[in-house]
């Protein structure tokens, strides 16, 4: 399983992102300053943006999931239970893991941003996917939830790409990347530098 970005270029307004990389199975950390293009890269990998040049090839990836920074973009259910079901999941386990037991009939749009984030990230983690992308997963989360996400990503099979500048709660990545000056720069495999 791998993702190959072959001299990819995408332009959004005046910003241009360039990426030429091969992402193998494992945990990838993509860091960079706020506004460096991490979310653009996430959208590109997730299929939400079409490259203006170059191509992206997915090998052995049957299903990819992108969890965006703003969880409300993902919500489609009329209740919290419906929301978990819309991801193809059994709701009771999901609700228990994110501390929303007893609120199954609540309107997910009326949850706080942190609760929405917990729910959506848990749904994505519990869903089967070969390529999972998390854009700023720790934003809006409390300390407990940040540690829980970090633990859930440890030893996750497949290809996981986490776009964040907050690396404190992330398990040691297999590969690190950074976006500087609009270019995805190959970083190092864990342990190398």
């Amino acid at each position: 399983m791998k993702v190959v970005l072959d001299r990819v270029r995408v332009r959004r307004g005046t910003f241009e992102l360039c990426a030429d990389a091969c992402l193998d199975e494992g945990l990838h950390l993509v860091s960079g300053r706020v506004g460096s293009g991490k979310s653009t890269f996430a959208l590109l990998l997730g299929g939400g943006l079409v490259p203006d040049a170059g191509r992206i090839d997915l090998f052995g990836v049957a299903r990819r999931l992108l969890v965006q920074q703003f969880a409300e973009f993902h919500i489609t259910g009329r209740t919290v239970v419906d929301e978990a079901v819309s991801w193809g999941l059994q709701p009771h386990g999901v609700l228990a893991r994110v501390g929303l037991e007893g609120r199954g009939e609540a309107d997910p749009f009326r949850l706080s941003r942190g609760e929405q984030k917990r729910l959506v990230i848990e749904c994505a983690l519990a869903s089967a996917s070969d390529l999972l992308m998390l854009d700023e997963p720790f934003a809006s989360c409390d300390l407990r939830e940040k540690h829980r996400i970090g633990r859930a990503l440890t030893d996750r099979p497949g290809l996981t790409v986490v776009m964040t500048h907050d690396t404190r709660y992330l398990p040691a990545p297999d590969w690190s990347w950074t976006i500087e000056g609009g270019t995805l720069r190959s970083a190092s495999k864990s342990g190398e530098s």
């Binding site: 939400g48 965006q68 703003f70 409300e72 973009f73 489609t76 193809g88």
Partner: protein, 217 residues
Amino acid sequence: MLDVRLRLIALASLTLAAYVSTTGALLACAWWLVLSHRRRDLPSLRMVIYLGVMVVLAAIATSLSGGDGLSYLARIGAVLLVASYAFSHRQDGELLDLGVWVLGRRIGFDLGLTAELALQAVEVAGDDLARIRLAVAQKGPASRLRRWVEVGTALLFAHLRRSQEIALVLALRGYSGGGAYCPRFSHGRWDSPAALGAICILLLAIVEPRDIFILLQ
């Protein structure tokens, strides 16, 4: 055009000219050809095709029902071209400048701020829509109608939440209505001639050229 006041005058004059007569519509198109950056002042190609097809279909329907389809095509085409020109030349904050300049620091400020926030919301809505569509599509296949309802609901709630947050920030900063603000306007070299040209086109549309020649005789 940098000056929003002159751009608004030009927009109103050309829209009225296109509404009044086909000559006015054709002259408005000519004004656009001379003063616009052509492709740069148009929306995305997809939107141009979508709008173009809609207008052509409506023109054909007008012709088939006994109306003047060509005139309709020219008028609506001119209005769309001028509107896209005005929108593409928009600069952040200019509606607040305009509101305060026209109606003062109380109601003008409130209306200008509302207009600014509304236009910002429109600008980010396209990006939000693309993100929501991607998020919803990831959940698997569903009927088109259901998807549109889900996407529309998510978009509505995302904007309601954003509006609530902006309102909270404004309230925290002490906003309760009106505000001290000094409007500033930039002025481009071609702003005045362009606005004057637009007013002339309106006059020509109201008084048909042949009438001018008759008057001159």
